[in-house]
């Protein structure tokens, strides 16, 4: 089942790539995807596949907003002579469990300016994030910010 979903995704990607969403092209993409999955089969571990389209859309909008907002903040900092940063490496305990969840979360964290996933604890329970703006030195607030703003929403979408 999982593989089937994967295969479908690959077919769609093929469609996007070729820019032709004709049925034949999608079937071709599906076939190619099948072949590739056959050859790469062992590489792909367990991987959930969700189609929560509305959730995803909402999250995307939220994320975009985060992205722009954070970027502007950094921009201001970069362009102005004084550094306003209060950086630090913060340990964020994770609720995310699966590989996909953790990875998605980490990447999304990284993608927003001002935060950067540096490492994951060996037991996969803590994500260490480098943050540029720990306002007022409140580490806990920063930690909470990540958990509330991003992790919760990500898990909502993914679970």
């Amino acid at each position: 089942m999982k593989l089937f979903l994967w295969n479908l995704l690959l077919a769609l990607t093929w469609g996007v790539a070729t820019g032709e969403f004709t049925p034949t092209n999608l079937v071709l993409g599906f076939g190619l995807g099948y072949l590739i999955l056959f050859f790469a089969g062992r590489a792909i571990g367990p991987s959930p596949y969700f189609s929560k389209v509305p959730q995803v859309a909402l999250f995307a909008l939220f994320y975009l907003w985060q992205l722009i907002r954070a970027n502007l903040r950094v921009a201001y900092d970069v362009m102005t002579p004084t550094h306003y940063m209060r950086p630090g490496v913060v340990a964020v305990p994770l609720d995310a469990k699966t590989d996909a969840e953790i990875t998605t979360l980490a990447n999304l964290i990284t993608l927003t300016p001002g935060s950067l996933s540096v490492d994951l604890s060996p037991d996969r329970r803590v994500l260490y994030v480098h943050m540029m703006y720990i306002d007022d030195g409140d580490v806990e607030a920063a930690r909470r910010g990540i958990k509330e703003d991003i992790e919760r929403r990500v898990l909502e979408v993914m679970r």
């Binding site: 990607t13 049925p23 590739i36 790469a40 590989d99 990875t103």
Partner: protein, 141 residues
């Protein structure tokens, strides 16, 4: 590298890159791409896998010895040219070895020996790059 994040992403990237590589191969005759670019992308995919998971896993996921890809690719490339030689034309004369297949709902497909040739190139490039990179990475690990 032991980063779970990289590994998980790599699991996703591998098929994506491979698909993209095949895409490059097939459209190469009409749009930018082709056997070289395709083969290099495919090789990059496995190189990434080898960096993330180690060479043995990469070899496992490849399933075939990259060296045999080289031989196969060479034979495919030569073979595509031999056909015309057998038909009494000069070597590598692709120009009359085309069929235009019309598929309902898709349009027309131009199929010819150059595709076989380019696929041979793809295989050789893939095989070669991996034959080079995997042992080197192995040496480091």
């Amino acid at each position: 590298m032991s980063s779970l994040i990289l590994r998980t992403a790599t699991r996703f990237m591998l098929p994506l890159l491979l698909l993209f590589s095949v895409f490059l191969l097939f459209r190469g005759h009409n749009e930018p791409g082709g056997g070289f670019a395709g083969g290099l992308v495919a090789a990059s995919a496995f190189a990434l896998y080898a960096l993330a998971f180690g060479v043995p896993s990469a070899r496992q996921s490849l399933r075939v010895d990259p060296r045999s890809l080289i031989g196969t690719g060479l034979l495919a490339a030569v073979g595509s040219g031999l056909l015309s030689l057998v038909l009494g034309k000069p070597f590598l004369a692709h120009r009359d070895l085309w069929t235009i297949v019309t598929l309902p709902g898709f349009g027309t497909l131009h199929l010819g020996t150059p595709l076989v040739f380019d696929a041979g190139v793809y295989l050789v490039v893939l095989g070669v790059t991996l034959t080079i990179i995997l042992p080197l990475a192995e040496e480091q690990q």
